[in-house]
Amino acid sequence: MAPRIPLPHALKDSALAALVAALLALPMLGFRLADSEQGLQLETRLSWVPIAAAIVFAGRFLLILVAPLMPRRGGKPSLATASTRRPLLIGLALAAAAILLPVTPFGDRNILDKATLVLIYVMLGWGLNIVVGLAGLLVLGYVAFYAVGAYSYAILSQAFGLSFWQCLPISGAMAAIFGLLVGFPVLRLRGDYLAIVTLGFGEILRVVLLNWASLTGGPNGISGIARPTFFGLPMVANSPGHTTFHDFFNLPFSPTQRVTFLYYVILALALLTNLISLRIRRLPIGRAWEALREDEIACRSLGINPTTTKLSAFALGTMFAGFAGCFFATRQGFISPESFTFLESAVILAIVVLGGMGSQTGVVLAAVLLVGLPEGFRELQQYRMVAFGGAMVLIMLWRPKGLLAGRAPTISLNREEAA
């Protein structure tokens, strides 16, 4: 028999919520500050207030009605006790789809371009996943290391003419070194303090990038960054004195060639990040990261050095950010401090958290949702950020462990029978 809906309680609760909503909406929605020649003017849109109240009333009412039907959240930590094969199959399928994308009918320039963007965020998400998901270190300034990678390449290619492939390892190394420098004093801080301090470092770096114009070009950034070559063959329409890519392969020139090439580069980088993450989870250091996340005091009692363990996670994660930054710089041809704000850090963190901390496929799903979809609906750009922040809050309220939470064990003693 269906449970009785507590009607009076639902009505009262919703009315209260609507009243509060009206109160909040009165100044903010009811009035608008408009610019005009006489300075600031006030427009009134008081009709919005009861509309907002009505929406909140309806929403809250529905929520109360639906609540008994929702499954209880929370409970003990569950392991993905099902075999580890299913996520693996899904992962392989996704990888295959990604590899084959350019040759499918979907493989036009526009889609490949968007896919490239999503892949950058997937790689950043997988990199941050090592730090936040595996080692449990909440870092809010990840974008700083992304910036270090990007600016390293930009500056080195301008100053010394190094190519993308030469700079890639250097960018990663620079980001990792920066990570070690930042991490060493900071990683022993407790969760939320660590988050704020890393945020502080991210902001400091951004201000420095903005003001140290002689090195970084200041707010104008660095432009004219060299594009990557296909093993030395530039991918442009023509290049005097050099054989171009399309010349070598006897193909007509098409800008899609470079787009496709860039797509495969980031796909390779991302898959590399993924493979290393998966492998390292099964190594002692990976287990130590997860153990540290569970209980640092127990780890100390087992002789595990928390500082070096955390630093290794940090260095690896920031190295991947460096790689991604290098790629970003070469893809855009131009970088400026504008691309490296705290908001970017928040997006990457949201991807990791929404996807499910520690889940590789979750990161892909979240990146597609948070970056891919809004790209497809460019007109709704304004609402994107509100929806994004709202999604973060909602996921925490509804599924704090993320969409695809659940931990697969790294090793088993009693081999399972066929799955």
């Binding site: 003990k76 930590p77 569950s78 392991l79 006790t81 290393i276 492998r279 390292i280 099964r282 190594l283 002692p284 250091i285 287990r287 130590a288 997860e290 153990a291 569970e294 209980d295 005091i297 127990a298 780890c299 100390r300 009692s301 087992l302 002789g303 595990i304 050095n305 928390p306 931990r407 064990p409 790294t410 090793i411 088993s412 003693l413 009693n414």
Partner: protein, 279 residues
Amino acid sequence: MSVLLNVENLTMRFGGLVAIDDLSMTARQGEITAIIGPNGAGKTTFFNCLTGFYKPTQGRITLTPPGGDEWPLQSMQGFRIAKKARVARTFQNIRLFAGMTVLENLLVAQHNKLMAASVFSLAGLLGLKSYSRAETEAVEKARQWLVRIGLEKSADIPAGSLPYGAQRRLEIARAMCTDPVLLCLDEPAAGLNPKESLELNDLLLDIRKNNGIGLLLIEHDMSVVMRISDHVVVLDYGARIADGTPEQVRHDPAVIRAYLGADEDEPLPPAVARDLGEA
């Protein structure tokens, strides 16, 4: 049996509060030494000083494994005490890695050995034989311990979903997987029913016999303390008030007074005094 742990004039002060007051005691290798005393006597504080979670205000704690160097535990960093001096401990509130499997818990305990074998993970990443061999050995060692504590079938379930008694045993096995010379157990019998307590006794006696290490035990459960300890030290208000064999300590009036909460010059209740043979 040689002296394994030598505590000299240990004092621990938190601001104005004296938690441990000029404590001196020894524990021998191959023996089970119990630390008992009323609540608040400073027993866990003592363990925390021993294992590097607190830095003692004064005094010395020296660990001397047989045939090895001396370790000044009072000035060593927490994880180094476990790693270099090989002192392992369990906690009053069980601290397992609840989200990881039983087997993984035991593998994490062998971290340092495995890390060395994987050469900063490089050998591991490249899939070199030397590392896979080390990992197989580690898994085998874990398996032997699981058999010893009866959890072999539960190797792949999350440690947090084990029943309470099993979690306690697992924590002990995990500590033993670090190959310690001194095992410190903080109230291992807490929350166990009489049958489980007997099993715990067997396990600890077995460890003493087969692994030849020293055991240090904080316990309230007298059925465990009296049955298996070779040596008992009694603390009250941070100071040592008795030190001897279980028999000696059981009949010590000072000890009884401490547990009853009576002052030194108060006469004991008649029934107790009769029991002890006092007037």
